[in-house]
């Protein structure tokens, strides 16, 4: 926009209502609407509409067979007052998310930052090494072999060999071990999308800013990270945070692969499991949707918290 039209617009805005002005702006920027149209059409059809329908269904007893009745808040009341396993799932999910979310986030950021210091060629190789666990879809299954409950499991075999234990440890049948092992495996696969976005984000930072910062009295790499690097990649930090939240609260697949479904005494039962149980096995779509809405609300809360924390970066 040239300055001329900008001033013209400012004058014009005074003598029309807000609605008229919005309409005029919309007409002026019609290209923008054309540009967002393809994406927004697909998004509305396959994401937005299903989400809205799910939220509405969470207030009904829809079960895929009968005509749904409107229940208002019954599903939610049942969830919190009458479903012990759900409360256990919430507890496990929170424990998991509070450990894995921040640790995986910081690990992604730190490793990306360290890698950024390396020379170009080594960096490509090192990035691959760290991203490797996320590349192969099912590769974490090998942790099952490693910690297998019989003497063929590597850990058991080694411990038996060294005489440290007399009998194999049933790693995935013992409540003591299931959660910690799942957490380790989850951390191991956690250098994923956010890690890649941090790497790409670090490359976009203008080098001259570092020089200016050095002149301004930045003394070591940590100060440089806090005052220069992080503030200039805030959008990427936000992106990484959402990734960390969705993956750590949506945790469940790792447990299924390692400890089976359901895990012993529901010791690693998460909200995801509860959701899949009611949707996939019992077809209680209404109740399942209510679980999803609660999970959604928890994630939005976590996101708001993280946003607040990220606004302190660089201060």
């Amino acid at each position: 926009m040239s300055q001329k039209t900008a001033t013209k617009k400012a004058v014009a805005r005074k003598d029309m209502t807000r609605l008229q002005w919005t309409w005029k702006e919309m007409k002026r920027n019609w290209v923008a609407y054309l540009m967002i149209a393809p994406f927004c059409l697909v998004f509305t059809l396959f994401t937005m509409a299903p989400v809205i329908v799910s939220i509405i269904m969470s207030f009904t007893d829809f079960n895929m067979i009968q005509v749904p009745n409107f229940l208002f808040l019954d599903n939610y009341i049942r969830l919190f007052l009458d479903d012990d396993i759900f409360l256990l799932a919430v507890k496990n999910t929170l424990i998991f998310a509070i450990i894995v979310g921040p640790v995986s986030y910081l690990m992604s950021l730190m490793v990306a930052w360290f890698i950024n210091e390396l020379g170009p060629r080594i960096r490509a190789i090192v990035t691959l090494i760290f991203y490797a666990p996320s590349i192969a879809g099912q590769v974490y299954l090998i942790w099952g072999t490693l910690f297998s409950g019989d003497s063929y499991g590597w850990v058991n075999a080694t411990l038996l060999d060294l005489g440290l234990i007399a009998k194999e440890i049933q790693f995935f049948e013992d409540k003591k071990y299931v959660m910690p092992l799942c957490i380790v495996v989850a951390l191991w696969t956690s250098l994923g999308t956010s890690f890649l976005s941090f790497i790409a984000g670090l490359q976009g930072i203008d080098r001259s800013m570092y020089e200016a910062a050095a002149v301004d009295g930045i003394r070591n790499r940590w100060q440089e990270l806090w005052y220069v690097t992080l503030p200039s990649m805030k959008p990427q930090l936000m992106f990484g945070a959402i990734m960390a939240i969705t993956s750590s609260f949506g945790f469940g697949g790792v447990v299924d692969a390692l400890a089976g479904n359901p895990s012993v005494d529901y010791c690693a039962w998460t909200i995801m499991h509860h959701l899949n149980d009611y949707l996939g096995a019992r077809f209680e779509v209404g109740y399942g949707s209510a679980i999803a809405v609660v999970l959604f609300a928890i994630m939005i809360g976590a996101n708001m918290l993280v946003k607040k924390m990220l606004s302190k970066v660089g201060q």
């Binding site: 926009m1 989400v51 960096r123 691959l128 090998i142 976009g204 959402i242």
Partner: protein, 290 residues
């Protein structure tokens, strides 16, 4: 030239030898932890059956053999639908889905980040929030919508939803915000370039690291997709699904299963290496400019 300069900065600016050493040590330790299981998968695929079930188990293969791979290919040839068909399906879905997502998401992200039009904030917030709603629940409605659009049991059922992947849009929007300079866009518009041209010629090259990243994970996600509720004809099923069927044959097929894992990994690794090396190139060339 560019590399020389970055090297020089590294020495001059705020870097202590102790810190470099500590970081290298930590990266080596963590890297080994990350890489060992991957190496294990490759080792397993090279082991003959007796070594796979040996006690005590050994990490390193003693008599490496390609038998597992040839077993896998034999099993592939016994499948009812020609195996190349499964591979074709997965390649088609991965390539088209990734290309479409890249184009749709970048266009939308550009408009949302760089054109000030009424409603952009609300639209972006809606899209970002929807990322946090879990997909399992939406499957019922999605299925209904797809059947209304007659997409069920066609490859389009997998390709078209990929176009609207919110993750891709969010990533592109964030990078458009940091990497694309408003004044450059202004001058391009002043020169009479259309929005489309400004987007394609000016903005897109500036966010090259972002779209290379998008290609990596979008492709990878589509490549690893297993069976889908939207597809029931055998001739439209994916490579991953077919491999899963083969390796579901029990202990006897442990070798073929290990080989299958290696084969499944190879293509995403290739895409990753190509994209990442290009990200690094972009960085080198942007160093040249200033």
């Amino acid at each position: 030239m560019a590399r020389l300069r970055t090297r020089k900065h590294k020495v001059v600016l705020n870097r202590s030898v102790g810190g470099d050493l500590g970081i290298t040590l930590m990266l080596t330790f963590l890297g080994a932890f990350m890489f060992l299981p991957m190496l294990y998968v490759v080792m397993q695929s090279l082991k003959p059956l007796d070594e796979l079930w040996m006690f005590p188990p050994r990490f390193i293969v003693m008599n490496p053999t390609l038998r597992n791979f040839s077993d896998l290919f034999v099993l592939m040839n016994t499948s009812w639908v020609p195996f190349s068909r499964y591979i074709f399906n997965t390649v088609l879905v991965s390539v088209c889905g990734t290309a479409g997502n890249l184009l749709f998401a970048s266009l939308c992200a550009y408009a949302l980040a760089k054109i000030k039009f009424p409603g952009r904030k609300g639209i972006f917030k809606t899209i970002r929030t929807s990322l946090m709603f879990h997909e399992t629940v939406t499957a019922v409605t999605r299925f209904t919508i797809m059947s209304v659009l007659l997409l069920i049991d066609t490859p389009l059922a997998l390709i078209i939803p990929a176009f609207g992947s919110t993750l891709g849009l969010y990533l592109m929007k964030q990078f458009m915000e940091t990497n694309v300079n408003d004044s450059v866009l202004e001058s391009s518009r002043l020169d009479g370039a259309t929005e489309w041209k400004t987007f394609w010629v000016i903005a897109m090259p500036m966010v090259k690291p972002a779209w290379l990243t998008l290609i990596i994970y979008c492709f990878q996600g589509l490549w690893n997709a297993g069976s889908s509720i939207y597809i029931h004809s055998e001739q439209f099923k994916s490579f991953n699904y077919a491999i899963g069927q083969i390796t579901a044959g029990g202990i006897k097929r442990a070798g073929a299963s290990a080989a299958a894992q290696v084969i499944m990994m190879m293509v995403p690794i290739a895409v990753f290496v190509i994209s990442q090396s290009n990200i690094i190139e972009t960085m080198g060339s942007s160093g040249m400019k200033d």
